[in-house]
């Protein structure tokens, strides 16, 4: 088990390069830093992605801004068969957050290959596409991954292992158990050469065990974290506010939980992490890099402000410049814990 001090540092881009012709420089606008990262083999122009289930397939937001400005798009969770999703209401707002129980409504893997892949080309969406896949059995994950691997036009897969595993009577999810995490990852690994990101659930006893199991199974990267099971109740009617009762909590309220899990896993595994959970702006994103994320994903914020993701990129640029840094890689895992981090280990930022 390698600790933080022994992690190999990524190459730092020494020279800032000038940004694309679409943003002309003027006296009031400094040239942008080159934020390109290689994340588990996916070449991203910046370390900001958008999270599955919060950005559709990119076509919706292309009517608002050029989504190619993003490092990558993780599209809606795809299952073997098309799914209708849950009865309404599917969402409820909670303090600094929301709970959702959408039910993985999606067009299914064949619908995705037939309709969505050509759509990316048609609309000129050329930034990396990562497909989130969900399944209720290992065979389902395997089959979806196999078909997507053969389809072309995809730069990565994200395994949503927070799905209930129907092999268990009690509807435990794959993500609860290191053995099933390892197995589903390994079985998917066998059928695809695409970069494989395993998305972890926070609802576990020992996330390091789950993370290590995913790595042993062949994960190229980890996504931390998925939503947290939660519930909202209407006191007057005694009814749960969403139809299915329990849903996934997301938004600013969960950021502290995400940061802690990322820091914990960062110290224990070598594969890179995409951090997510309540990122609303550039400053939030920076916190995630400091905690150990190589890249970040913006999720719920897309519902609040459709341009949140590109504003996060801008916020990262501004922070780096203000601190005299050239790249987010310089921040990854640089957390100082006052009572813990030995003085000698603190690398003072320039």
């Amino acid at each position: 088990m390698k600790g933080r001090k022994m992690r190999k540092k990524e190459g730092i881009v020494d020279q800032p390069s000038f940004s694309s012709p679409s943003s002309p420089s003027s006296l009031s606008r400094l040239p942008e830093l080159n934020l390109a990262v290689d994340f588990a083999g996916i070449k991203m122009k910046n370390p900001v992605m958008v999270a599955s289930g919060t950005f559709g397939y990119g076509e919706e937001f292309m009517e608002i801004f050029d989504v190619n400005q993003l490092g990558a798009i993780v599209v809606k969770g795809t299952t073997l068969e098309p799914r209708w999703g849950n009865p309404l209401p599917r969402i409820v707002e909670t303090p600094s957050g929301m709970i959702n129980s959408i039910g993985l409504q999606n067009v299914g893997v064949e619908g995705f290959i037939r309709e969505k892949l050509p759509m990316f080309k048609r609309l000129g969406i050329v930034t990396p596409i990562i497909v989130n896949i969900s399944g209720h059995s290992i065979e389902e994950f395997e089959e979806v991954a196999r078909r997507l691997d053969g389809a072309g036009g995809i730069q990565g897969l994200e395994l949503n292992i927070s799905c209930p595993n129907i092999a268990y009577a009690s509807a435990r999810t794959f993500s609860h158990d290191p053995a099933t995490t390892r197995e589903v990852t390994a079985r998917v690994r066998k059928v695809t050469r695409l970069p494989l990101i395993v998305k972890l659930s926070p609802d576990v006893t020992d996330i390091v065990a789950i993370a290590q199991a995913a790595v042993e199974g062949g994960a190229d990267a980890l996504a931390i974290m998925n939503t947290i099971p939660g519930m909202a109740i209407d006191a007057e009617t005694r009814r749960a506010k969403i139809a299915r009762g329990v849903g996934g909590l997301s938004g600013p309220a969960i950021k502290p939980i995400a940061l802690r899990l990322i820091w914990t896993v960062f110290q224990a595994v070598k594969v890179p992490i995409v951090g997510m959970g309540g990122i609303m702006n550039g400053t939030d994103a920076i916190e995630f890099f400091i905690a150990g994320s190589k890249t970040v994903a913006v999720g719920t914020a897309n519902f609040v402000n459709p341009k949140a993701s590109v504003e996060v990129v801008d916020g990262i640029q501004a922070y780096l410049r203000r601190h005299g840094l050239n790249h987010t890689n310089e921040l990854v895992g640089s957390l100082i814990i006052p009572a813990v981090t030995p003085h000698s280990a603190i690398r003072i930022p320039q």
């Binding site: 289930g53 919060t54 950005f55 559709g56 919706e60 937001f61 292309m62 009517e63 608002i64 801004f65 050029d66 190619n68 809606k76 209708w84 999703g85 009865p87 309404l88 209401p89 599917r90 969402i91 707002e93 303090p95 600094s96 957050g97 929301m98 959702n100 959408i102 409504q105 609309l123 000129g124 938004g251 600013p252 309220a253 609303m280 719920t300 897309n302 519902f303 609040v304 402000n305 459709p306 341009k307």
Partner: protein, 274 residues
Amino acid sequence: MIDPKIYVIAGEVLSQEVFERDFRRIVIRAPEIAKAARPGQFVMVRAKEGSDPLLPRPFSIFRARHTHRDAIEILYKVVGWGSSLVATKQRGDRVWLTGPLGQPFTVQKKGPPMWLVGGGYGVGPMVFISDVLKGSKRELKAFVGARYKSAVLGVGEFKRNRIPVFISTEDGSMGFKGRVTEVIEREIVKTGAKPVLVACGPTPMLRAVAELAMRQGLTSEVSLEETMGCGTGVCLSCVCDIKTQDGGSHQRMICRHGPVFPGNIVLWDKLRKH
């Protein structure tokens, strides 16, 4: 890349006032949205920065380019936290808007008579249509339905656009006693007209208008409502079931594929009852 048609901007409040009784009207300067807005569309509104409340709230566009070329108007009632925050905004304050969103009503300067059916503050988009078609050759009539007199809205606005208004209240406290669809049906029989019916208001009223249209062999468009998360079609919270041509059905997002739908393809029984 698609031309951007939806804008995310901070609008400036030009005025905030009581419209009629407990309905309020806020006028917001938002040039790109005002220019693009069409009747039936809506905006997602955030009245406050920060994460509480987290989500924006949908508001129908009542009018655009009316009092002010660069402004939209929203007609609303305080029904919860989001709308109560909008009510605190005064002239000079900022509100954050995403819009215009959704599919608008089909509004053409030429065509058969168009009968505008509004219930409660559903009259808003109907007034917007009458603004757009004012002075056109299209024959318009407005049918305003409500439970009782104090819920009747917007009559003055239609009259100012020189449109005949038929008022109905369920308790008879104003106008015809009964449902708005009874008045429409009577008018069809009386005039022999074959109008297009467009409707905005409570779901039972929309259903009644759609069913009346089908019975009479007329075209209808209705504006559906549902709790929304994002308003842009990505959170998948506001689904409804719509008939497909092969006899089956598929799910559509009310925010993106609606809120306006042809009345004859909505699967009314499957809509969530609020």
